[in-house]
């Protein structure tokens, strides 16, 4: 085994390349040990412990179920844990309790209606879902957006990242026994949601970002609202520092718990904060910029050890980075239209319907039949708060997609649980599950 850093583990940040101090670079055979680390058992079968082929001291291993109705599994996640006393050996995440067939539903909805469907997947960051769906449709349509639409999308996506991370801070705090953090996290998130309500009409499931632009322009005085959010949340993040970051109990619970190496993270296709916590500076906003992320200045935060504490501090600091982006966006927000002028894609303004027959027909067509999208297929990916959120869209030339597949980051990231929990304590399982940040609506779709 050689002590060398893989080429992809160093990345450009504003402070130059952040070199990863690799722990032992493991061989390819050992990298796949997660295949053996996953508990491969049917979900409904009672288990004879003698059938389980794993090294153990005594015949003391047993299978216990955590969830699906467990207060700390973030929705309906069931973990089948094979435990030896307090130590977890193997894990099998059992999912599907929230499966509502949204990908099938998408095939029955027009592209206009599609955004209302995808926004319900990741309910903590609905705007990212709408964004990736809209970008995929626009990619097939070949529509170019007016600059204001692009910057509004960026503003909203970053605000949503702040609210999503705040929500994570809250639930993670609760999982570790810090009820105050839960209250604070929800309190700050509410500010962002109030702004969303003002802008989009709803606190969640906005259907705001649509193919062709956004649903409505920003409300009057939005700069002030946004600045208040930025100021308050930024100040409060330093209070969280006082509350959690420096607190000995919190650090004891999170440091060196649920460790992951960069090689393992890449092998398991993990993305987002969980990948960055291992030292891989991979953020789609920086690496493969979309919208106008190459015109704003921000840093990609990386951890070093890939443990729960790294994932915590990455998310906390990403709130600050997002606020940095939001302030730049608010400053640079261009004037102009907030959706494309192509009447085949976007409905005409309400006032035009009264005076123009043409506008009325377009309005009727867009909302009944929808618009036709040229044949083809596209894969589009954005950086959601949880990682790479992708949309694979296949169009057969009609107004409904032939297939819409969402590459859900939570769904893929959940695969890391058997590896993260292995060798840890049952008590830490709660904290580690939380640090993966699975949103079950997105996992099950």
């Amino acid at each position: 085994m050689t002590e060398q850093s893989p080429t992809w583990s160093t990345g450009e940040t504003s402070e130059g390349a952040q070199e990863l101090e690799s722990r032992s670079v493991t061989g390819s055979g050992e990298l796949r040990r997660e295949v053996g680390a996953v508990l491969r058992l049917p979900e409904g079968v009672s288990v004879d412990s003698n059938d389980i082929d794993v090294e153990r001291r005594d015949d003391e291993t047993m299978i216990i179920n955590m969830g699906p109705q467990h207060p700390s599994t973030h929705g309906v996640l069931r973990l089948m844990l094979e435990v030896d006393g307090e130590v977890i050996l193997r894990t099998k995440p059992v999912i599907g309790y929230l499966h509502t067939g949204m990908e099938k539903t998408a095939e029955e909805l027009t592209y206009v209606q599609g955004a209302t469907n995808v926004t319900r997947m990741d309910y903590l960051c609905p705007l990212s879902n709408e964004l990736v769906f809209s970008l995929a449709v626009e990619e097939l349509l070949g529509v170019d957006l007016p600059p204001r639409a692009v910057w509004i999308r960026m503003l909203m996506a970053e605000l949503n990242r702040v609210s999503s991370h705040l929500m994570w801070m809250a639930t993670n705090g609760m999982d570790l026994g810090s009820t105050s953090m839960m209250i604070y996290g929800f309190r700050e998130r509410e500010m962002v949601l109030s702004f969303f309500e003002k802008t989009t009409g709803l606190r969640m499931n906005h259907n705001y970002i649509r193919p062709g632009g956004v649903a409505a322009d920003l409300p009057d005085g939005w700069q002030d609202d946004v600045e208040v959010i930025c100021e308050t949340v930024l100040a409060r993040t330093y209070e969280y520092d006082e509350l959690l970051t420096g607190q000995p109990i919190f650090r004891e619970r999170t440091e060196a718990v649920g460790n992951l190496t960069a090689e393992e993270a890449v092998a398991l296709s993990l993305t987002g904060p969980i990948l960055r916590s291992t030292g891989v500076a991979w953020d789609l906003r920086k690496a493969m910029p979309y919208l106008a992320y190459d015109e704003v200045d921000f840093d990609v935060l990386v951890g070093k050890y890939g443990d729960n504490f790294d994932r915590y501090s990455i998310r906390l600091n990403e709130i600050r980075e997002s606020i940095r982006i939001i302030r730049q966006v608010a400053e640079k927000m261009p004037d102009g239209d907030y959706r494309v002028a192509d009447r085949k894609v976007t409905p005409p303004p309400r006032a035009r319907i009264d005076e123009s027959m043409e506008a009325l027909i377009h309005h009727f067509k867009v909302f009944t039949e929808g618009f036709r999208v040229p044949e083809g297929e596209a894969y589009v990916a954005v950086e959601s708060p949880r990682g790479e959120l992708g949309c694979y869209l296949v169009s057969n030339g009609t107004s409904k997609p032939l297939r819409m597949h969402i590459r859900a980051p939570s769904f893929v990231n959940l695969q890391s649980l058997p590896l993260l929990l292995r060798g840890g304590l049952v008590a830490d399982a709660v904290a580690t599950t939380s640090s993966v940040d699975p949103v079950m609506g997105e996992v099950d779709r």
Partner: protein, 156 residues
Amino acid sequence: MTAETRSRGSWKAEMTFPSRSEYSSVIEEYKSHGYEMCVDLCAVDYLGYEGRTLPVDVVPQRFEVVVNLLSLSSKSRARVRVQVPEDDPVLPSIIEIYPGVDAMEREAFDLMGIEFLGHPDLTRILMPEDWEGHPLRKDYGIGRVPIQFKEAPGPR
């Protein structure tokens, strides 16, 4: 790249259409050429849509398995699209090359009925274990809630 196309992002991916027998070796080759991560694997059912554009030497089949690969080092994407016939929906598993496709292959098996040979735990992942059929197939009914219409109450 003009300012307009940048606003949409650049989603260009290198496209490959291997046959089923070449599939594993093509994936392996990509891995050795710096595509470290298998970002996504999904299956598409093209039943009832014959006219899709494919390279001339590729025979269209009902199913298509789409594998999206990502290179972190060269910041590029690649897409591998394999045709899978309806009467024999079987494909070798690439879990040995990319362990991360575990859940994705299970999902494709569960919802589309593609069998991945060599997968250690090819069971349903989203649907209940005893479910019959594969819901994302085009010939799988979407299901409807029957509505009972009642007669309007007559004059009294």
